[in-house]
Symmetry: C2
């Protein structure tokens, strides 16, 4: 069976054994079976718990061996000391994919490291595959499935996560919104390249988000990532950059840090966009999901606040972007909007325009957007708006969305300051523009859109 077939057993199983599932149910019980039933997973579920013969109306089995059916995926949730025997039973039963949840293996002491090696030996011999240990398993909301003990809101979004931590897995934190997720845990068998190859051919996934601590088979990773990132953008947060982080990582997933510069080079070579921090990973995951790639580095800025325009202009330079020099024709057309004493240029300062033009604020925004985006000297727009009170006095959502609709190949990012409210939600839900509550982060995001576009252009 090919690697990608095994990945399908993990990600799209027709039958799941939940080994060591608890009988405790209800809110805060972290019961995986209860979660699966709530999501509406439609495959077969076999609870395994030697202490009972029924959980939540499903027949429970004392052991995986007693289940009289084929099993694609087993999720083993039991203490470290019991894991090897249970993995052995799964392997004997020819379960295709085994998730091991417990901690304390490669991430633990000498004994844990030995147990992890033993686990690998068992599945290799039997022809099964293992995900973890120290893993929440997988989520695939396209078939209402999430093996994590933490409940999540099932979103059918075209974003696939590959992580080594619950922090980025779909669940209550929701740092990254995703439709599928793979928690590699200690990655003793199934590794980041296997996961990438699954998403590579997955028509439901358009964007891949990685959180990795260590990558063992570097050469294979570069080869796979380079191929995949030409088809779908890959965003990555790689930690263990520092001596402190490397040490902490050792007892988190047992990963070895390696030189950070090597990872940097590997990501660059393979077109993987490396985020600096969690905030950037979250920003990019949203922006890459909804925005077109930007064709150049020339940015138009439309700002309700003069200081915001100045700060955005500064930030553009900091991130290697240009503040677009507008065409004379566009400047002539826009003249009537602004006070006569103002030296009009990019950024457009919409507040004085509103004060003197006599137009409603929405109309100022509409014209500023349409004129700026029509300029061939502009590759994308940062829009800066203060949201005052409930919905603000002005309904600026329609002019923004019309602009995004008219100029589909130029990304629009909005920095909203003030009270966070319905405007941000409406804009985000449109799926046409990106919203940020930080000027810095909006500009940084544009620079990374350009970085990926340049990788694709270089490669053509």
């Amino acid at each position: 069976m090919k690697d990608v077939e095994f990945m399908k057993a993990f990600m799209e199983p027709e039958s799941i054994a939940l080994v060591g599932v608890s009988r405790t149910t209800g809110e805060d019980s972290f019961n995986t079976l209860e979660n699966l039933l709530n999501y509406g997973y439609s495959g077969k579920i076999y609870p395994v718990n030697p202490g009972t013969d029924e959980i939540l109306g499903l027949r429970s089995y004392p052991s995986v061996k007693d289940i009289p059916h084929e099993i694609d995926l087993a999720v083993v949730s039991s203490p470290r000391s019991t894991v090897i025997d249970l993995v052995k039973e799964c392997a004997d039963k020819r379960v295709k994919g085994i998730v091991v949840v417990a901690q304390g293996f490669g991430d633990g002491d000498e004994e844990g490291i030995a147990l992890q090696a033993e686990m690998v030996r068992i599945v290799k011999e039997a022809g099964s595959r293992i995900m973890g240990p120290n893993s929440l398993g997988i989520a695939n909301f396209f078939c209402n499935l999430n093996t994590s003990f933490a409940r999540s809101k099932p979103d059918k979004l075209p974003v696939g996560i590959i992580c080594q931590s619950g922090l980025f897995f779909p669940g209550p934190p929701r740092l990254i919104l995703a439709g599928k997720a793979i928690d590699l845990g200690n990655a003793c068998d199934i590794d980041v390249s296997d996961a990438l190859e699954y998403y590579e051919t997955d028509p439901q996934i358009k964007l891949i988000v990685l959180y990795v601590e260590g990558i063992e088979k570097g050469r294979r990773f570069i080869e796979v990532a380079r191929r995949v990132s030409k088809k779908k953008p890959i965003l990555a947060l790689k930690s263990g950059r520092s001596v402190y982080g490397a040490k902490a990582m050792k007892s988190h997933t047992g990963s070895l840090a390696g030189k950070d510069e090597i990872y940097d080079a590997a990501f660059r070579q393979s077109g993987v966009i490396r985020a600096t921090d969690i905030d950037e990973l979250a920003d990019l995951s949203r922006a890459f999901s909804c925005l077109p790639l930007i064709k150049g580095r020339r940015i138009g800025i439309i700002s309700m606040t003069g200081a915001g325009g100045v700060i955005a202009a500064d930030t553009c330079q900091r991130y290697g972007l240009e503040v677009a020099k507008l065409s004379p024709e566009i400047l002539a057309e826009v003249r009537g909007l602004f006070p006569s004493w103002l030296d009009i240029s990019n950024p457009f300062d919409t507040w004085p325009a509103f004060q003197v033009s006599g137009y409603p604020y929405e109309e100022v925004v509409e014209r500023a957007f349409q004129l700026m985006l029509a300029d061939e000297a502009v590759d994308g727009v940062i829009f800066i708006h203060g949201v005052f009170g409930k919905e603000g006095s002005w309904d600026i959502v329609p002019p923004i969305l019309r602009a995004a609709d008219t100029f589909k190949d130029k990304p629009v990012l909005c920095w909203l300051y003030g009270t966070h409210d319905g405007i941000a939600t409406k804009l985000e839900e449109s799926g046409k523009v990106a919203v940020s509550l930080s000027c810095e982060r909006a500009v940084r995001t544009v620079s990374r859109l350009r970085e990926y576009a340049e990788f694709l252009e270089r490669d053509q």
Copy 2:
């Protein structure tokens, strides 16, 4: 009259003339008079509007000259073309402080620049002072006063803002919470040093926050800032760092950029903490308001998520902090909390501790905090917590506040991820710990607390 006496006329006026106040009232009318009455300002208010003899129950005068009383502060809100005559009338009337709101002076064309020079000439001759033009004026919530047209929530907080933009002024954006504010606008007369000297001796203000585009009298600024920052921390965001920003600034406040490295050096010399971006300015304004200065660079990390601990450790190194090497005695004491297979060190990973120790999660947090902060090798703590659901299942606020109460000289910063909720609010309202929704930003904030502490130590 001394400079600081003039500043008091602006900041603590007993009588205000509102020149050019509108008759339109009600929500969204931006009526300064109505705002002042709502705040409950108890000084005398004289509306000036030639078109009526009464606004909101107050007698209105056709001109400042007609007011038969002394006036500390006049706020001139009228179009550019009328400003010079009105300033002249104020000067003739011996008004001490004059705020000019209109734009289009030093921030505008040649004519505007000439008008601004004329305005300065008039007040110099008469012995008045001018704030602006292009200014919202001042806010002093300790006497229920804000001359801005935008309504704000009056907070009696010990933070004083000095800015050149409405973006940072108390009002709907509330990027920086403050008890007083001074909008220098184009700073044609009253400048940043005058404002600093006012806050220097102001017992109500403990922290000063600057947003400046240009500083003209550099030598005086360094002298004043260096003296003031030994008494109260000064945070600054200085824009116009880039060629783009400098250009945009020219038409925002008419400021000339100057070399950014010179500003950098001036801030460093004078102990001013320079923020990189708006987000950092907001973070620091909250942290410097409530946290003790940190005595060293050795950070303890307590994290619910292993990946979060790794990432925080990486970020510490990035910002020049150390992940504290804990004392053997503390490690021995904490042993019982953690699984036997875990190599305990800093960061403390509280999730496996919770899973195996049998303690409630609050108890794990309590012990982790008390032990870590008791260690002399630890100067401050970053606490990482995922907030799930409404209040989360665990009430972790009391153990955190007890820790902050017990170790008053060690700052505690909390990174909360997940759903933002009551826990963040409770912690912030305690005024004892700082809360961040970003790991990166929490760590960066600690490094800046240390930077200011080192400035004070060097200077002793």
